[in-house]
C-alpha cells in the first residue's frame, strides 16, 4: 500500500503540471479525468433516475384506481415509453458506466482510462441524446408513445417527435459504443504488472464482457432504428408487408439487440455484488473462475434467446421450441452465480453495512425475478403471461431490486473512497429498509395482476384489478419518495462528514482501490503498482 500511496501524493512533483482539476465549469466541460467523468455519469444517471421515476409516478397515479382521472390515454403511452427509455438508456446504463469510469482504472492499477478524450466525448454525447429525447416530448403530436421497443407500424404513427427520438437513440448508442471501446482498451492494455486476466476483480470482468456485448449489439439497434427512419421518410418498406417487408423482422432485429441489452444492464450489477458480498462476509468469493465462466456463458446465451420476447408473433413450432429450450438454459449459469454468492456467505463472518444490505436484497429479489423469468421461458405458458403485468413484475424485479439496488450498493460501497467522507449510516439504513419494503409493495402485486389477466400498457382497467393496482401505486409513491433520502445522503457525503480511512470498511476489503487514500487523489497509479 505505502508505495502507491506515497506515489499518489508525489504525482504533483512530476513532469506534468496539469495534474489538478481546472476550476469552474470548464473543469466539467473539458475534463479528461476518469474520476470527473465517472462523477458526471453518476450525477447524470441520478437526474435521469429521478426524471424517469417521476414519469413512473404519473403512470402509477393514473392507475391508482379504475377510470381515467388525470391524463389522456395518448399521454399515458408517452409516459410508459419515455419512462422506459430514460430508465434503460439514461439511468441504469450510465450509472454502470460511471462506476466503470471511477473504479476500473483504480481496480486494475491504471492511471486513467485509455482514451480520455473519447471518454469526455461519449459523456457529452449522452447529454445531447437525452436533451433531444426530452425535447421530443414537446413536439406537435406528442412524445414517442409506441413503447420503448418502438415496434412498427405503430411507431411510424409518431408525430414530429419521431426523428428526434430516433436521433437520440443514435447518439446514445454511439456514446455507449465509445464507452465500451474505451473500457475494453483500458482493461486489455493498462492492467498493472502481474494482474493477469484471472486476477482481475469480478467487477472488471463483468464490465469487460458487458463492453463486448455493447459493441456487438448497439450497431444492430442503430440499424433497426435507421430502417424505421427510412420507412417513415423515404418510402422504404423494410417493415411493411404492403411493399414486401415484414413488421416482425423489426422485432427480430430489435430483440437481437434487446436481449443482450438486458444483460448489459445486469452483468455489471453481478460484478458489484461479487465485490461486496465477499468483503462483508470476510471471506474470498466462492468459485471465482466459475463466476467468470458463468458470466461469459450468460453473455453467449444472450445472443441465441432473443425470440422468447416474441413467442406470440406466430413463429414456426421449431422456432418456439428452440427459443424455449435455449432460454431455459440461462437458468444454469445464473443459478451458479446465485449459489456461489450464497456459498460465499456460508461460514463467513457477516456484518450488515448499507452496501451489504443492498447486496443481500439484490440476492433475494433478483432471484425472484429469475424465477418468474424461468416461468415465462416455458413457451406454452408464456402465451398467457405475454404482455401482461406478470412480465412488468418480472423485469422490474430484475431491474429495480436487481440492477438499481446493485448500483446503489456500489455507490454506498465506494462513496467514501470517492469523497473521503463516511455518510450517515443510520439514514442509509432507513433508505435501505424503506426501499426494500416499498419495492415489494410496488412490484409483487403486479404478478397477481398479470396472472389475473391485466395487460400491460393500459391506462385504465376493469374493476377486478382495482385492489392490487391501488396497493402497487402506494408502493410506487413510497419507493419514489424514499429515493429522495438517497439524493440527500449523497449530497451530504460529498460536502463533508467523518473522515474515511483508506480501507474505509472494518472488513478489510481486498483490491487495489483500497490501497489508495480516501478521497482518491485526482491522479492515481501514475506509476503502476505490482500485483503479486
Amino acid at each position: 500500500m505505502s508505495a502507491t500511496h506515497t506515489h499518489g501524493h508525489a504525482a504533483g512533483h512530476e513532469h506534468h503540471d496539469d495534474h489538478g482539476p481546472a476550476s469552474g465549469i470548464g473543469r466539467w466541460l473539458t475534463t479528461t479525468n476518469h474520476k470527473d467523468i465517472g462523477t458526471m455519469y453518476l450525477v447524470f444517471s441520478l437526474v435521469m433516475f429521478l426524471l424517469g421515476g417521476s414519469m413512473a409516478l404519473v403512470i402509477r397515479a393514473e392507475l391508482f384506481m379504475p377510470g381515467m382521472q388525470l391524463i389522456d390515454p395518448g399521454f399515458f403511452n408517452t409516459m410508459t415509453t419515455v419512462h422506459a427509455l430514460v430508465m434503460v438508456f439514461g439511468a441504469v446504463m450510465p450509472a454502470t458506466v460511471g462506476l466503470a469510469n471511477w473504479m476500473i482504472p483504480m481496480q486494475i492499477g491504471a492511471p486513467d482510462m485509455a482514451l480520455p478524450r473519447m471518454n469526455n466525448f461519449s459523456f457529452w454525447l449522452l447529454v445531447a441524446a437525452f436533451s433531444l429525447l426530452i425535447l421530443s416530448l414537446f413536439m406537435p403530436g406528442g412524445g414517442p408513445a409506441a413503447g420503448w421497443t418502438l415496434y412498427p407500424p405503430l411507431v411510424l404513427q409518431t408525430g414530429d417527435a419521431f426523428p428526434l427520438a430516433i436521433f437520440a437513440i443514435h447518439l446514445a448508442g454511439a456514446s455507449s459504443i465509445m464507452g465500451s471501446i474505451n473500457i475494453i482498451v483500458t482493461i486489455m492494455n493498462l492492467r498493472a504488472p502481474g494482474m493477469t486476466l484471472l486476477k482481475m476483480p469480478l467487477f472488471v470482468w463483468t464490465w469487460l464482457i458487458t463492453a463486448y456485448l455493447l459493441i456487438a449489439v448497439m450497431p444492430v439497434f442503430a440499424g433497426a432504428v435507421t430502417m424505421l427512419l427510412t420507412d417513415h421518410f423515404f418510402h422504404t418498406t423494410f417493415f411493411s408487408a404492403s411493399g414486401g417487408g415484414d413488421p416482425v423482422l423489426y422485432q427480430h432485429i430489435f430483440w437481437f439487440f434487446g436481449h443482450p441489452e438486458v444483460y448489459i444492464m445486469i452483468l455489471p450489477a453481478f460484478g458489484i455484488v461479487s465485490e461486496i458480498i465477499p468483503t462483508f462476509s470476510r471471506k474470498p468469493l466462492f468459485g471465482y473462475e466459475s463466476m467468470v465462466f458463468a458470466t461469459a456463458s450468460i453473455a453467449f446465451l444472450s445472443f441465441i434467446v432473443w425470440a422468447h420476447h416474441m413467442f406470440t408473433v406466430g413463429m414456426p413450432l421449431a422456432g418456439e421450441m428452440f427459443f424455449m429450450l435455449s432460454t431455459m438454459l440461462i437458468a444454469v449459469p445464473t443459478g451458479v452465480k446465485v449459489f456461489n454468492w450464497t456459498a460465499t456467505m456460508w461460514k463467513g463472518s457477516l456484518t450488515f453495512e448499507p452496501p451489504m444490505l443492498f447486496a443481500l436484497a439484490f440476492l433475494f429479489l433478483f432471484t425472484i425475478g429469475g424465477f418468474s423469468g424461468l416461468m415465462m421461458a416455458i413457451a406454452p405458458v408464456d402465451f398467457q403471461y405475454h404482455d401482461t403485468y406478470f412480465i412488468v413484475a418480472h423485469f422490474h424485479y430484475v431491474l429495480v431490486p436487481g440492477a438499481v439496488f446493485a448500483i446503489m450498493a456500489g455507490v454506498y460501497y465506494w462513496l467514501p473512497k470517492w469523497t473521503g467522507h463516511m455518510y450517515d449510516m443510520k439514514l442509509a439504513n432507513w433508505h435501505f429498509w424503506l426501499s426494500a419494503i416499498f419495492v415489494n409493495v410496488l412490484f409483487f402485486p403486479q404478478h397477481f395482476l398479470g396472472l389475473a389477466g391485466m395487460p400491460r400498457r393500459i391506462p385504465d382497467y376493469s374493476t377486478q384489478f382495482a385492489d392490487w393496482n391501488m396497493i402497487s401505486s402506494i408502493g410506487g409513491f413510497g419507493f419514489g419518495l424514499s429515493q429522495l433520502l438517497f439524493v440527500y445522503l449523497v449530497w451530504q457525503c460529498a460536502r463533508g462528514g467523518a473522515k474515511a480511512t483508506s480501507e474505509v470498511w472494518d472488513a478489510h476489503p481486498k483490491g487495489l482501490e483500497w490501497t489508495l487514500p480516501s478521497p482518491a487523489p485526482y491522479h492515481t497509479f501514475d506509476e503502476a503498482p505490482v500485483v503479486k
Binding site: 407500424p153 471471506k283 466462492f286 431455459m328 461460514k347 463467513g348 406454452p380 397477481f448 382495482a466
Partner: protein, 293 residues
Amino acid sequence: MKMVKRALVAGTALLLGSSPAMAAWDLNLRVGVTELSREIYGLHMLILWVCVAIAVAVFGVMIYSIATFRKSKGAVPATFDHSTQAEIIWTVIPVLILVAMAIPAARTLVKIDDTRGSELTVKVTGYQWKWQYEYVDQGVSFFSTLARNHDEARQLDSGIAPASVENYLLEVDNPLVVPQGRKVRVLITANDVIHAWWVPDFGMKKDAIPGYINELWFRADKPGTYRGQCAELCGRDHGFMPVVVEVRPQAEFDAWLAAQQAARQAAQAPATQTAALAPTVEHVATVRVANAE
C-alpha cells in the same frame, strides 16, 4: 408423480381461491375452459412449485447464513473459496430439473401448434381500436367495439363510477359467438398496426400482424361469456378494445348463425349502395354489415 401434481394443483386452487367473491384479489392464473388452457394451467403450477421448492432451499440457506454466520455472534470466517464437487452438483441438478420441465412443455407446445381438423374458422382482424370477426365459410362478418356506455364512462373525468358499469371495459356491442365443444380455428391479422387477440380462459394469445395471418385454435367446453383484451400496444385506445366471446350450445349457435345470415341477406337484398350505406335500425342492432367490407 401425476397424482402429486394433481393434488398440488387442486390444493393451490383451493388455497388461492378462485371464487367470484374474491375476484378483486385474484392471485393466480385462470384454469380456463379448454383442454389447452387446463394444460397450460398445469404447466404453470408445475413450474411455479418447482420455483417455490428451489426458493425454499436457496433462500433457506441464505437466511440461515445471515442468521448464523454473523460477526456480532463471534463467527470466524472460513477460508475456502471453491469446491468442485459442490459446483458440479449445482450445475447438474438444475439441468435435470430443466429437462424434466422441457418435456411436458414441448408436448403442450406441439398440441397448441396443431390446428388441423377444425370445425369452424373465424377470421379476426384488428383495427385501431376494434375487432372484426368473419365467419369465413358462413358469409357472416361484423365489427366488435367497446360498448357505448363503457366508452362514455372511460372518458377523462366522465363522472361515471367504473364500479357502476358492469364488466367495466370488458363489454362489446357484438361479441364473437362460437359453438360449444367444437374445434374453432381463429385466423388472426390486422389492418393497421399490430394488435394481439387474447382470451385468458382459452389459454391463447396471438399477435394480429398487418399483412400476415396467424392462427390459433380452441375448443371451449362450457357455455358462457369469456372476456379478454387486446394485448399488444396499438396506440391511444389500446386499453379500450376488449375481446368478448360467447360460447353457446351447438343448436343455439346454429340458430344465431342462421339469424345473422338472414340479416345479412336482407341487408344485401336491395343490392344498391344506398341500401348498404343506410341499413335499418334493426340491421345495426343485429350485425354491422354496412361496415364489414
